[in-house]
Amino acid sequence: MGNMTVRFYGRLAEACGPTAEIPLEAQSCTIAELRNIIGQRFPDMATDLTGPSVRAAVADVMVPDDRSVSPGTEVEFFPIVSGG
C-alpha cells in the first residue's frame, strides 16, 4: 500500500545506508511492527532495531513503539548517542 521512508544514523546508517524505502503491505503499522519489517530486511541489525537502545522519531520528536505510522510519514531511527 506504499513505501515508508526511513532514515538511519550512526552504526545503523553504516549497516543499512542513510535512508531506505520500506514497502508496506498494510495501510499503516506501528513503530514496533516497522522495526520488525526493517529487521527482516537488515538481519544483522535486527537485534538493534527491535531493541530498546534504538529510538524512533517522527517529525523530530521521539515516538513510542505503539505509535501508528503510514506511508508518506518519514521515520528516523537513532542508536544511542555517543555524545560529543
Binding site: Y9, G10, R11, D60, V81, S82, G83, G84
Partner: protein, 153 residues
Amino acid sequence: MATQARLTDDVIRPDLLLQELLAAATGAGAIVNFCGLVRPEDHEGRKIEALRLDHHPRLTLRSLETIAQDGAERFGLSTCLVVHRFGRIEPGATVVFVGAAALHRRAAFMGADYLMDRLKSEAMFWKKEEGAAGGQWIEPTNEDRADLLRWGN
C-alpha cells in the same frame, strides 16, 4: 552573543573563538574555555586515523542549544558559547570548543565543566573512531555517566 551554539563541518579555530568571547564578555571577571581535541590513540593504545561524527540535520544543533541554555541559566553565565564540529576529524584537531564567561571564576569554571559533562553524554552525535584495523562506534563511558551524575542530572 549571550548564549550561542554552533555546529560546523569546518575547522574550529579556538583562538578566534576566544577572541570573540573576550569581545562579547563585557563586564565579566572570568572566562573559562575548553578545547576537546581528537586524541592520537584510542583507550587501548591503538592509533586513531580519524574521528567521524555523524549528526542529525536539526536535532543535533538543538541538543547543543539546550545544553548551552541550561548551562548559562544554571550558572548565571553572561556569555556562553558551544561550538561543535561534525564529519571526519583528524588527530590534533578541535572537535568541541566551550566558553563560559561570568562575574566570578567559580561560576565560569563550573559552567564550562557542566557544559562539557552534558555534551559528552547528551550531544546528539554518533561517533566512530577510525583506525588501521577498521573502526569502532563509541558510546558514553561509565566515567562520562558518572561525571553527569555530579550535577544531579
